[in-house]
């Protein structure tokens, strides 16, 4: 029995060491590369005067895996209109990108998965709802509200984009990396709650109930998006 416990402790210490090494590498890369835009604590660096203000990583809705893909492919690949967040696959090796995404997730926002689950559960279950009714409601609200900025096909090319506030570039929703739960929380609480610039995507939860918001997300997910992340 003692030997068994010793083996478990030894294995655990090995993996802890690997994780620690990965975090150390991630920290080093972050401080060498990301810190200039995202700041020391991941909260952004206003001194950079970027066209698109960098996200507050401590509020990011992205999981570790999603963070990995954003660093690897760049935000534009996943629907951002601007390419200010570049694709680091041309700069870093894969294990370095994994180390970086681990560091960002573990240090700045370690509980995001629980937060998403908890917030989503608060909004009630929609499994029993009629899907065709949801798509109908979702289409109506999307076309009336969302399409002005995101475009009728969700490609981020709505008729209002040239007349929006500075540094707002609506996402191409057909390429979004967000899950339906994440999209719902993003729409409900607005982008600022999840780390974007303060006057970015507004909080529609003040205007629409959970069913309506979930219907819009359903419409985006089933009808508009290309990728099924």
């Amino acid at each position: 029995m003692k030997i068994f416990i010793l083996i478990i402790l030894f294995t655990y210490s090995l993996f802890s060491k690997v994780d620690q090494k990965q975090l150390e590498l991630g920290e080093k890369l972050y401080k060498n590369t990301c810190i200039s835009c995202h700041g020391v604590n991941g909260e952004g660096n206003d001194d950079m005067n970027l066209i698109v203000k960098s996200r507050n990583l401590s509020k990011s809705i992205l999981t570790k895996e999603q963070t990995y893909f954003i660093i690897k492919d760049g935000a534009h690949y996943w629907g951002a209109k601007s390419d200010i967040m570049p694709a680091f696959k041309y700069v870093f090796k894969d294990y370095e990108i994994r180390a970086l995404s681990s560091y960002i997730s573990e240090i700045f926002n370690p509980n995001i998965k629980q937060t998403i689950k908890k917030e989503f559960l608060k909004s009630g279950n929609i499994i029993k709802e009629n899907i065709s009714k949801m798509l109908k409601v979702g289409e109506k609200v999307f076309k009336r509200n969302c399409s002005l900025c995101h475009g009728i096909k969700g490609e981020g090319d709505g008729i209002a984009i040239d007349s929006l506030e500075d540094s707002i570039f609506p996402y191409n929703l057909t390429k979004t990396i967000l899950s339906t739960q994440q999209m719902f929380l993003y729409v409900k609480y607005g982008g600022h709650a999840w780390g974007t610039h303060k006057s970015d995507m507004p909080a529609w939860g003040k205007k629409y109930d959970n069913f309506t918001l979930k219907s819009v997300v359903k419409y985006v997910d089933e009808v508009l998006r290309d990728n099924k992340y």
Partner: protein
Amino acid sequence: MKKITILSIFVACGLFATDHIIDQKDKTFIPHLITVKVGDTITFKNSDPFAHNAYTDDEDNEFDIGMQAPGTQIQVPIKAVGTFNIECAIHPNMLLEVIVK
């Protein structure tokens, strides 16, 4: 005689119709509550440096002005008695309450 009376009523309505100016500034309809009458018009004036919209789903007064560029004005007619809300499709906090007498 009947025709003349009806004609007089239409002329009177036209003469006394009022245009109500609603300013869209700092993502707010100003004023946020108005009382109007049938035949009046509402002019939406976008004083913000970014786009706005105004619409209502009220059955008898339904309209949607679409995307309104900064610095522009768009007029809509009031067609029927009732109370309804006008909202901006881009900014969810904007609300204008209209009472039609």
